[in-house]
């Protein structure tokens, strides 16, 4: 048990939360706590104070909007799994996060802002051309998922901003999700993939855990759309990703698996 005396501010409305964020840019934002509490207990987090969004209304909803769908940042994985509105790729990714107890607390906004390269939902946002809506006292702005993760655990979120939700445009094409880990539940990914493909029109090949950030393989995507042979697409995937050896896997294994995931999916279409 690690004793943490840091104070916690618990806004009940989004407006209060945005005001509070402006006042306390140093605060650690917490929602479901499934990452923050681990960092806190391990001693890797040295908090001054906390901004707790768990009971903040106005973050935990989703709905269809003109041209797409909005998912509140406070949606838990369980919310997303159970809602009939949830995009199948999002549902599948949320189902692979931890296990039931984690899914009941972990939020999609937390997964996005924690920005682990192995975050289970992150390649999905890339495959679906998602935009993240950020709010501060200065107003709102939207950042495409493709430019949100700037480097290892570096995100395009200013100290006075909060992630409010995710905008998913209407998209077309076949989709595919695959997580490869040591076991089905409670494991962190060795390789994670989300893809979307409409023959001759567009392709998204997005990976996690194969580089410092979740990433798209843009050259492979272009080759796929251009109708190049699968071997060539796979070779480009293997060349574009930048996996490393770490406690969970090796670069070689990750490269091979990433290629195989794409090869197997394309063969199944």
């Amino acid at each position: 048990m690690l004793r943490c005396e840091a104070p916690v501010y618990r806004p009940r409305t989004l407006t209060d939360a945005i005001y509070a964020r402006a006042d306390m840019p140093d605060a650690t934002v917490i929602a479901g706590g499934t990452d923050v509490m681990v960092y806190l207990e391990s001693g890797s987090l040295k908090p001054t104070r906390f901004l707790d969004l768990w009971d903040c209304s106005g973050l935990r909803w989703q709905q269809f909007i003109t041209g797409g769908q909005f998912c509140g940042a406070g949606l838990t994985c369980t919310d997303a799994i159970r809602s009939p509105q949830t995009h199948p790729l999002v549902r599948e990714a949320c189902s692979t996060v931890g296990a039931v107890q984690i899914q009941n607390r972990a939020t999609i906004g937390g997964n996005i802002c924690n920005s682990s390269p192995a975050g289970d939902t992150l390649p999905v946002w890339l495959a679906l051309d998602a935009e993240f809506e950020l709010a501060s006292m200065r107003g709102r702005r939207r950042v495409p998922a493709a430019s949100f993760w700037k480097g290892y655990k570096q995100i395009d979120l200013r100290p006075d901003e909060l992630l409010v939700g995710v905008l998913l445009p209407q998209t077309t094409g076949e989709t595919h999700f695959r997580k490869v880990g040591t076991r089905m539940a409670q494991s962190i990914s060795k390789v994670i993939f989300a893809g979307r493909y409409r023959r001759g029109v567009e392709a998204r090949l997005a990976f996690g855990a194969v580089g410092p950030t979740p990433m798209r393989c843009r050259e492979a995507e272009a080759a796929l759309v251009a109708g190049r042979p699968v071997d060539e697409v796979v070779a480009l995937v293997e060349a574009e990703i930048t996996p490393i050896d770490d406690v969970r896997s090796t670069a070689d294994y990750r490269r091979k698996v990433a290629g195989n995931i794409v090869r197997r999916w394309l063969a199944s279409l």
């Binding site: 104070p7 618990r10 706590g33 499934t34 906390f50 931890g98 039931v100 089905m184 539940a185």
Partner: protein, 153 residues
Amino acid sequence: MITRFVCNGQPVEVETPPMTRLLDVLREELRLTGSKEGCGEGECGACTVRIDGVPVMSCLVPVAQVAGCNVQTIEGLAGALVHPVQAAMLEHGGAQCGICTPGLCMSAAALLEENPHPSVEQVRVALAGNLCRCTGYQKVIEAVSHALVDTGE
């Protein structure tokens, strides 16, 4: 900070820093030591309790987040008789060393309340967040699957 919530049907009030883990509040302040600390990082499920019916890892919940909530621990699972899940665990040899058992019972009870007739696959998914190093899971899954028969309509 004073946090008030309902624990196993009784209103409680604890004075701790707001980020204190619910698990520590249960074990150290309320002396409810049925919930175990296995890993302390949300991997093992030994600390599983229910907040407003929903199973969670109590090592990952700051006590401030349960203000006004209903918390149920293994101590509050049985009524006048042991809970059907507990009875089934006894009958089917679903417990060995016992460290994971309280958490498993809480996850299983949450599942059966929502879905009294789960498939084996649904039982496996519902218990996937509870690690056990003794039983090999098979007897646990048999127990939970039979608990539904024992309580069945």
